[in-house]
Amino acid sequence: MPRAVRGLLIECDPSIKAMILKYDEERHDYIVEDLDDENHLVIKESQLENLKVRLDQDLDEKIMQLDESESE
C-alpha cells in the first residue's frame, strides 16, 4: 500500500549530506527518509532553519582557519 509522507526534499553535496546524517545519528530528529543516492534526502520541515544554522557554524569553523592562514 503506497503512502505519502510530508517533508522537505534536500538537495546538496555528498559532504553536506554526510554532515546531516551525522547530526541525525545523535537523536534521529532530522531525517524522514534517507534517499540512498549521494545528494538527496528528506528531512522534517520544522528542522530546516536549525539545520542551516548548525551547518553554517560547523562549516565556518572548518573553513575559517584556511582563510586566516592565507598570507596578506
Partner: protein
C-alpha cells in the same frame, strides 16, 4: 536594463484601468511609457498598429514573428495587455483582432507628430544655452543632493566629517523611512536590508525606486497619483539645460516640484522662482541610453570626478582580490567598506582586500553577490576598462563581464553559494509501492502534471510538490484495477 525597468513596470501594472485611461490622455506620458517600459518587439507592434484604421486580426500579427521567438512575442503581447495599450476586439467577421487602445493611441500620435497642446511637454522659459544655470551647475547640484540622500542612508558621518553635507528636508527622511530603506530610532538612522540593496544599485534604478515611493506616499496624503505620475513622465521628457515655466503647473505639481528639488531631480533657484530646471536625474529617466553606460554617474563625475572623487571609474581590483579605490568621498568609502576589508586610507585613495569574511558579512546584511559585482562593474576604473578593451573578447556578453577579473567575480558568487549549501523543496514523498508497475504509473502522472521533483526506480519512491492530484490518481487507479 531589465532590473532598471522592472520596478516602475511592476508598479504601473498594479494600477487600475481608469488610472491608465487618465494617464494616457497626456501625450508625454504615452511617449514616455512607449520609450521606456516596452521591450523592442512590443514597440514594433505598437508602431505597426498605431496608424491602422481597422483592428488587425490576431493571426496576422502572429505570423510576423518566427515560431522560434514565440516566447518573446507572447511576452511582448502580455506586457502590452497589462499596460492597457493593446486590446483585443472582434472584427466584422467575428475574428479576434488587436488594436491600440484609444487614449494611448491618440496621445502617442500626438506626441510623434507634434501636438497643438504643447503644454504636455512643458513650456520653455529659456532654451538651452540661454539660461544662467549651466549644465555643469545642474550636474553638480544633482550630484550633491543625491549623494546627500545616499550619505544620509549609509550614515557617512561616521566616516569622518560632514564635508559639504546637504541639509535634507523632513519630507525626504520621511519618504526613506516609509519605503523601509532606513529605520529611524530616536536620533539614530539605521539602514535596512532593502536600503543596502538600494544604495548599491545604479542611479537610474534608484531614482525610479524613490519616485515610486513618492507616488505611493502622495496617494496616502490625498494627492492624485495620476497627476503626480504624469508630471514625472513630463519631467522625463524635458531637455537638460533648459528652464521651464512653472505657471502652467497645478498646485499639486508645484508641491511635487519642491519635493523633487530636495532629491536633486529638478533645480530651482528658490521655491518662488518662476521657472525650474530639470537635472540629468530627471531627463534620463525614460531614455534607453542610460541603461548602457549609466550617464548619470558618468557625467556627474565628469567635472567633479577628480576632486570630488565620487561616481564611476575609480575602483581597481586585482586578481589577488586587492581593491584600490581612488576616492575621498565618505559615501563611496562607506559603500566599499560594506563588502571589503579596508586596510589603508590615503588622501585620495583607500585600499583593501575582498575576503571571504567581508563578502559573507555583506551577504548577512542582505546584500547579494550580484549587487556587489554590479557596483564594482559600474565603478570600475577606466584603466580596467582599457585593459579589457585591449584584450577584447569576441562575444558582446564576455566583454562586459571581464572588466573585472573573472576570478574575483566568480569567487564572490561562490562565497554567496557557500551560504546556501542545500536546496530545500517542501512537498511529499510517496513510498512503499509494492511493485514497479504500481510505482511507475503515478510517477509518470506526477511528471506530466509538473509536480515531480525527484524519483528513484530502485527504491520505488518519488517526491512531489503537491500531493492532492497524485493521491486522487492513485485512488482512481485502485478503483479501476479492482
Amino acid at each position: 536594463m531589465a532590473s532598471a525597468t522592472s520596478r516602475p513596470l511592476e508598479y504601473l501594472e498594479g494600477l487600475s484601468g481608469t488610472t491608465f485611461y487618465k494617464l494616457y490622455k497626456q501625450p508625454s506620458t504615452a511617449l514616455a511609457i512607449f520609450r521606456r517600459m516596452l521591450p523592442d518587439l512590443a514597440k514594433c507592434f505598437v508602431m505597426a498598429l498605431l496608424y491602422l484604421k481597422d483592428p488587425l486580426p490576431t493571426a496576422d500579427l502572429e505570423i510576423w514573428v518566427n515560431t522560434e521567438s514565440k516566447k518573446q512575442r507572447d511576452n511582448a503581447l502580455s506586457i502590452l495587455g497589462r499596460l492597457h495599450i493593446l486590446s483585443t476586439t472582434r472584427t466584422g467577421d467575428n475574428v479576434r483582432a488587436y488594436m491600440v487602445t484609444d487614449p494611448f493611441a491618440t496621445s502617442l500620435r500626438q506626441a510623434l507628430m507634434g501636438a497643438e497642446d504643447s503644454q504636455s511637454f512643458g513650456v520653455f522659459s529659456r532654451g538651452p544655452g540661454e539660461t544662467q544655470t549651466s549644465i555643469a551647475d545642474l550636474d553638480e547640484y544633482a550630484r550633491r543632493q543625491w549623494e546627500g540622500v545616499m550619505g544620509y542612508m549609509v550614515g557617512t558621518s561616521a566616516f569622518g566629517g560632514q564635508r559639504d553635507m546637504v541639509n535634507l528636508s523632513k519630507g525626504v527622511k520621511q519618504l526613506l523611512q516609509a519605503g523601509h530603506l532606513v529605520e529611524i530610532r530616536g536620533s539614530r538612522v539605521d539602514i535596512t536590508k532593502d536600503g543596502f540593496g538600494f544604495v548599491l544599485q545604479d542611479v537610474n534604478t534608484q531614482v525610479w525606486h524613490i519616485l515610486i515611493l513618492y507616488v505611493q506616499s502622495a496617494e496616502a496624503i490625498g494627492m492624485d497619483s495620476v497627476e503626480v505620475l504624469s508630471f514625472l513622465f513630463l519631467l522625463s521628457s524635458l531637455e537638460l539645460g533648459a528652464s521651464y515655466e512653472k505657471k502652467h503647473l497645478t498646485p499639486n505639481q508645484l508641491r511635487t516640484l519642491t519635493d523633487l528639488a530636495d532629491f536633486g531631480i529638478v533645480y530651482q533657484e528658490d521655491p518662488d522662482a518662476p521657472c525650474f530646471y530639470p537635472t540629468r536625474l530627471a531627463t534620463t529617466l525614460t531614455s534607453d541610453s542610460s541603461a548602457l553606460s549609466n550617464p548619470v554617474t558618468g557625467s556627474l563625475t565628469g567635472p567633479a570626478g577628480q576632486t570630488g572623487g565620487s561616481g564611476s571609474g575609480f575602483i581597481i581590483i586585482e586578481t589577488n582580490y586587492r581593491l584600490y579605490a581612488y576616492t575621498s568621498s565618505p559615501l563611496q568609502i562607506s559603500l566599499i567598506s560594506l563588502f571589503t576589508n579596508l586596510k589603508y586610507r590615503f588622501p585620495n585613495l583607500v585600499t583593501g582586500k575582498i575576503t571571504r569574511q567581508s563578502v559573507r558579512r555583506a551577504i548577512e546584511m542582505g546584500i547579494t553577490a550580484d549587487q556587489v559585482i554590479s557596483y564594482l562593474l559600474s565603478h570600475a576604473h577606466p584603466q580596467l576598462r582599457k585593459h579589457n578593451a585591449a584584450h577584447g573578447t569576441s562575444n558582446a556578453k564576455g566583454v562586459q563581464a571581464s572588466v573585472l577579473p573573472p576570478t574575483v567575480t566568480d569567487q564572490i558568487r561562490l562565497w554567496q553559494l557557500e551560504r546556501d549549501r542545500l536546496r530545500a523543496t517542501a512537498g511529499f514523498l510517496f513510498k512503499d509501492f509494492t511493485s514497479l508497475a504500481e510505482y511507475s504509473a503515478p510517477c509518470q502522472y506526477a511528471a506530466e502534471i509538473g509536480v515531480l521533483v525527484w524519483k528513484s526506480e530502485k527504491k520505488r519512491m518519488f517526491f512531489v510538490t503537491r500531493h492532492e492530484q497524485v493521491a486522487a490518481f492513485l485512488r482512481s487507479q485502485k478503483g479501476g484495477g479492482k
